[in-house]
């Protein structure tokens, strides 16, 4: 009997894990000019729509002391920047291509997206 219960809860937990991590709803934030991004266990917002051909200032503020998030990489814009804890770090980008561009932590564990329209 206990084996059936454990199996049942096992399956439910796996489904929950799948739902929790892979099926989250992602909101896109529209930004123009300046956008503040909070770095704390991930990026908030992590899906940002920015205008094409205009300079957008991304202001990162890291509140997470974990070394994982100490760097932010915008590979398509060739930026790798150290984010000083509890301070604002500004990164200016001027997208010359439309599309979706990933930004991530230095080790590629945490991700965010810039959508250039």
């Amino acid at each position: 009997m206990d084996k059936i219960i454990v199996s049942f809860f096992g399956v439910v937990s796996i489904l929950f894990t799948y739902w929790f991590f892979f099926m989250k709803r992602i909101d896109t934030v529209r930004a123009e000019g300046t956008v503040n991004i909070l770095v704390d266990g991930g990026y908030k917002p992590d899906r940002i729509s920015i205008p094409y051909g205009q300079t957008t200032k991304l202001v990162f503020k890291r509140k997470d002391s974990s070394a994982c998030l100490e760097e932010v990489v915008l590979a398509d814009f060739k930026v790798r920047k150290y984010l000083v804890l509890n301070e604002k770090t500004e990164i200016e980008i001027n997208p010359t291509k439309k599309g979706e561009f990933d930004f991530s932590c230095g080790m590629g564990m945490f991700h965010g997206k810039l959508i250039v329209k």
């Binding site: 796996i14 991590f21 892979f22 991930g42 070394a67």
Partner: protein, 744 residues
């Protein structure tokens, strides 16, 4: 005195020697400061310490004696990062030491074989609980914080795995400690696993500590480049020489540099000469001689002479600043090979959690007794052994080290993609003029017509020097580049030029004039004459000019663009590496073939008489030529003056020499020096970096692919798993650092 750290800042309000003394004393009293020196004349203090001192501590110390330390915004970004990193490492060191010490006490009191000789207190579960709780919530505080804030974003990472794994072990142990009867009724031995939770946290933090230390080494190159910058410059203003900070130097400033001093900014020598060691910027090991009119590069070292130069580029426009920017950008880019690792790591952690749940269920349903404990320990091992960090570190650390050592050798890589593509290059096209050759025509042969001595003339041409002297005297008045080569030759031989009368330039033919009352003509061969040696020289790709005295052919001068010393060796090495070499030029076929023969490029790979605008087409043509059933990966090497489109069209464009901005923009790799062996070094650097990346990725993937199933089967204990996991990410970073030792 290891890792000496220096901080310089101004102190306001000092006016006497005793102020200096008071402030120095106050600064020395700050814990960690080994030395404090104050210069009263400029009001600046320099602190030496083992680790960077936080700005507010300095401000407070100076304030306590009644003065004001001018520390801007707590220092520069670099200093802030340094302070933050130092603090992080110190915190980790303390936490690792404490948790491993407490963990070892618990292990002593609970591990069969050694627990028998342990003091009774260590075997007490309540005592173990207290120790484990300290490790779990104090040492593991940051892990919890990071895991919880990630979970709020519905993201799982490394910390999530460690937190889940150790929390399960810790909570289970608490239950066993406080409600042993419950487990005994279930016929489960009431034994806690505090050793598992503490040692795992200890080892994971140890791994983090070592990783952070090693990772600091990957970005060292750029710090070294920044450190190359001179701090002050001795400028001449109002006829006075004054020392000013490098930030205050403006273009047009006259700067004096003495032997053994660093050249502050880029500029042009206007007085004096010297030998300058430029190796730190160009990678060229031989010092180069510089004279009036030559350019000097900031941050290079003046060896012998003293000179004055005019600043032409300052601040972010200097070559060094450009190099730093380029390296920073390259380190911010991603290699295509990283894409797969990125995709995998974004799904990795949730999948590991699901695997851990499956492991628990599997062992609970099908495993042997005690099923619950077996199932729990095995699923913890799965959570702990999984190492997404190694995958995340594999590529960027190698790119950081690779681009860094490139810069130290004068090889500037624009982005990680270029570095990756360069290792696949199997065909390299060289531009001829200025790339394979020096780009400056030089006199190579001087021949006298045999009957010349019979001439009875006021102008006695006794030897080759005489012919050069005569030709140079006339050519001095022309503005032709070939003429310039003859004049240069005369200057080199220290020949006195003779006065020329009635100079005339004969369009399309040559020049003539009267020297010592005799008519002298220098130019093309006149129709009625022939000169067999001249034809031979032409076949070697040289340009031949003939010298006539009183309408009689007297001799000839052959002029050619000379090949670079490094050209032959570079082509030979590339060919040995299995790379096909080709040459492209706007010059005629004869000259092109002659140069190709000298450097060792095969005749069929010579593309002559190609107009600048067609070079790009040729590159594309070569790219579409198959080689062993695969399309070629083509690199184009040029100076970028008229071949920027070709550089951009090639799979990897390599711009040589200090390069124009256009060339740097178009090229994937820029070589600061003009030594062709740098092309070989660039390819080798790419090959070695890619080898490191591939080994790292293989290790990171194989590790997880092999060890996660091993943990699921139950062949590995959670503690061993945490050791393996810590070792895994450190080994990847260490492997990247080994790249520094590679010979390129």
């Amino acid at each position: 005195m290891k890792n000496m750290n220096k901080q310089t800042f101004a102190i306001k309000g000092m006016h006497c020697a005793s102020c200096v003394y008071i402030n120095e004393k106050a600064l020395k009293a700050i814990p960690g400061v080994t030395e404090a020196v104050i210069n009263l004349t400029n009001g600046k203090a320099t602190l030496s310490s083992e680790a960077p001192i936080e700005g507010n501590k300095i401000i407070d110390a100076v304030k306590s004696v009644g003065y004001q330390a001018m520390i801007e915004n707590n220092g520069t970004l670099d200093e802030k990062i340094k302070v933050e990193k130092a603090k992080e490492l110190k915190d980790l060191r303390v936490k690792v030491t404490v948790s491993l010490f407490l963990g070892s006490l618990i292990v002593w009191g609970s591990f069969p074989g050694i627990m028998e000789v342990a003091p009774t207190l260590f075997k007490n579960y309540y005592f173990q609980f207290v120790l484990a709780a300290i490790v779990q919530f104090w040492a593991g505080y940051d892990l919890y914080k990071a895991a919880i804030s990630s979970l709020r974003h519905r993201i799982a990472n490394m910390d999530t795995l460690v937190v889940i794994g150790t929390t399960v072990a810790f909570l289970y142990s608490i239950f066993v400690t406080f409600f042993p009867k419950f487990f005994m009724n279930l016929k489960i031995e009431a034994m806690p696993y505090f050793d598992v939770s503490t040692v795992i946290i200890g080892l994971i933090l140890l791994g983090r500590y070592l990783e952070a230390k090693a990772k600091a080494g990957t970005g060292e190159a750029i710090k070294k480049l920044i450190g190359l910058q001179a701090k002050t410059a001795r400028v001449i203003r109002n006829n006075k020489e004054i020392d000013i900070s490098i930030d205050e130097v403006v273009t047009g400033d006259l700067i004096r540099v003495r032997p053994g001093e660093k050249i502050p900014v880029d500029g042009v020598i206007i007085e004096g000469e010297s030998a300058i060691d430029e190796s730190m910027v160009t990678g060229e090991s031989m010092p180069s001689s510089k004279y009036k009119g030559d350019t000097v590069i900031g941050a290079t070292m003046n060896k012998s002479g003293s000179f004055v130069y005019k600043a032409t580029k300052v601040g972010k426009d200097t070559l060094l600043a450009q190099i730093i920017k380029l390296v920073e950008e390259a380190q911010g880019s991603k290699a295509p090979i990283q894409r797969l690792a990125d995709i995998i790591s974004s799904y990795f952690v949730p999948i590991v959690i699901m695997l851990a749940i499956s492991t628990f269920v599997g062992w609970y349903v099908f495993g042997s007794n005690p099923v619950f404990i077996n199932a729990m320990l095995r699923s913890i091992a799965v959570l702990i052994i999984a190492c997404p960090c190694a995958m995340g570190l594999a590529t960027p650390t190698a790119i950081m080290v690779g681009t860094g050592i490139g810069a130290q050798h004068g090889i500037l890589i624009k982005d990680a993609e270029s570095l990756e593509t360069a290792h696949k290059v199997n065909t390299i096209i060289f531009d001829k003029t200025g790339t394979l050759t020096n780009g400056k025509p030089e006199v190579t042969d001087v021949l006298l017509k045999s009957n010349i001595k019979d001439q009875i003339s006021k102008i006695q041409i006794k030897n080759q020097e005489g012919l050069i002297q005569l030709a140079a005297s006339i050519e001095k008045l022309s503005e032709h580049p070939l003429g310039e080569a003859i004049v240069k030759k005369a200057e080199k031989e220290k020949l006195q030029l003779i006065k020329v009368n009635r100079f005339k330039s004969l369009t399309g033919k040559g020049v003539e004039g009267v020297v010592n009352e005799k008519k002298v003509y220098v130019g093309r061969l006149l129709k009625s004459d022939s000169f067999a040696d001249g034809e031979n020289l032409k076949k070697q790709g040289k340009t031949v000019v003939y010298v006539y005295i009183e309408d009689k052919l007297s001799g000839l001068i052959a002029i050619a663009d000379t090949i670079k010393e490094s050209a032959k060796e570079a082509i030979l090495t590339l060919n040995k590496m299995g790379i096909e070499t080709a040459m492209i030029t706007g010059d005629n076929a004869q000259t092109a073939n002659a140069i190709a023969k000298q450097v060792g490029i095969r005749q069929e790979n010579v593309f002559a008489e190609v107009m600048p605008e067609d070079k790009e087409k040729k590159v594309r043509e070569l790219q579409s030529r198959e080689q062993r059933f695969l399309f070629r990966t083509v690199a184009m090497v040029g100076d970028g003056i008229n071949d920027a489109p070709a550089l951009a069209a090639a799979d990897v464009g390599i711009a040589m020499g200090s390069g124009t901005d256009v060339a740097i923009e178009a090229a994937g790799i820029t070589l600061v020096n003009k030594n062709l062996m740098s092309v070989v070094s660039a390819i080798q650097l790419s090959k070695k970096t890619m080898k490191t990346i591939k080994l790292n990725l293989f290790w990171a993937f194989a590790y997880n692919v092999v060890l996660i199933p091993v943990a699921m089967i139950g062949w590995i204990s959670p503690i061993l798993a945490s050791g393996a996991m810590a070792f895994s990410s450190i080994s990847v970073v260490t492997n990247s650092l080994l790249l520094k030792k590679a010979k390129i």
